[in-house]
């Protein structure tokens, strides 16, 4: 029963991962990836890693929500529901994909995987906590603080408000054709004054 369930979950994870590149919207792609991660999380739970499995589902739900918002925000497709092509740089992508697959497959085949089943009464969650806050604490804390600094930096860089005034002040939209006129409304050179004088004449 357990192996069959595992196989179904693995197939579902691969299928939903494949869907990420076949659907035509950022939102659909993000949440297809979430489905894949949920399947992986459940696999971890079955393999006696309850904390890692459930935490994967929790973290990925939040993360994919953030990712969907950011991708829609930075894409030319504002609502995320209009169809768009999700893949680009085909040749490079195929090469990188094959290389990645070969590398991961080699890692799986050459690493020494444990065969003994986890004893039922083992406190796996407590063991994980001791590992994270013991031997591996330096690695995790370094990674955590680096990520936090990156996030703070990204927020500061993308914020409109800043030390030297609004970030979009005096900015011009890119041209419709290469090197052409900027798109959108042209800023009025002399502000509201022209209109004011026009009224007097």
């Amino acid at each position: 029963m357990k192996p069959l369930f595992l196989i179904v979950l693995v197939l579902f994870a691969v299928w939903s991962g494949w869907r990420v590149f076949r659907v035509d919207s950022m939102v659909r792609a993000s949440f297809s990836l979430l489905l894949s991660f949920i399947a992986v999380g459940v696999i971890a739970v079955i393999l006696s890693a309850p904390y890692i499995g459930i935490a994967t589902i929790f973290m990925m739900a939040v993360e994919m929500m953030v990712m969907a918002i950011f991708m829609v925000m930075f894409m030319m497709n504002p609502a995320g529901l209009n169809p768009m092509m999700m893949v680009h740089q085909h040749r490079f992508a195929i090469g990188a994909g094959l290389l990645g697959f070969a590398g991961l497959a080699a890692a799986v085949l050459t690493s020494d995987l444990p065969l003994a089943p986890v004893p039922p009464g083992k406190a796996v969650v407590a063991d994980l906590g001791h590992e994270l806050l013991g031997r591996s604490m330096l690695i995790f804390e370094t990674a955590g603080v680096t990520l936090l600094a990156t996030m703070v930096g990204a927020v500061i860089l993308s914020a409109r408000s800043g030390r030297f005034g609004a970030a979009d002040e005096g900015s011009r939209p890119p041209g419709l054709a290469p090197g052409g006129e900027p798109a959108g409304r042209r800023p009025d050179e002399s502000g509201g004054h022209t209109h004011h004088h026009g009224g007097h004449e």
Partner: protein, 300 residues
Amino acid sequence: MLLLFIAVLVTLCAGTWLAAWLDHLVPARSSGRSAGPLAPFRAAAATLVRPRIETEAPDRMIWRLAPGWYLALAAVGLSVVPFTSAGALLDSPVGIVIWGSCEALTIVTVFLHGWAPNAPFPLIGAYRYAAIGLPIMLPSMFVLIAAALPAESLSLLVVVESQSEVWNIVRQPLGLPLFLLVGLTLTLRGPFDFADSADIAGGTSAEDSGPGRALWQVARLAMLVSFSAVAATVFLAGPLGPVLPGPIWLWMKTAFVMALAVSLSHAVARTTPSRMLTVIWVVLLPLSFLHLLVAGVLAL
């Protein structure tokens, strides 16, 4: 096992009805009108007979499935709650994290429910909700971790056992008020209803009608039941209590939290999303961090 399954099912159904009745009762009390216990069924029947609305180029699959996902998340959330001191239907060493995942997936579900119809008001509701729902996850996690500290475990059963001497609401008085705000967000209620509120014509449900709308409303109420049961377990010692059997105590405490949440949602006004974001990041987040700090020092 079968008994626990039936208990979860009965709690979900009866709790949903009670929540719906309370929702009719609280505004009726202030306006002087009466609302009988059958009022929710009349409202449900009226919703069910309405025809379905079709929008232009929606994502039909997600639109139809979202209410079901919401209901499923409520059911999973309730099944980690221990009904007796013997165990829960989903007895996991990481019960609190399972509930946390249900919270996070609820935000995704509400967003998708607003995104799928491909219509302006639902989409505005979806984005507003995501902006409020994501930061509210942080106080939620801090509050739940604080409750797990004295128990030294993420299992809800152990969290209940740790409250046999003194309840968490006494030990950590800020916990329940902060968690109630999380509950209002999860069930799209009152001051935290930025998804389905009247100011954007019903938000993510603006294009819902007929059975789909009815199921979505039922799922919202079911999520209120699950949230109340989790709050009762984490802060009010769940099934622990003298004389009466465990499930009765859990039901009474759940009903109490539910009444609290419903009256809060009808009594407090909603503010603009931007102002609410400031409140969450500047007030609620530091407050919950302080709460975790105090709980941690006390637990040492």
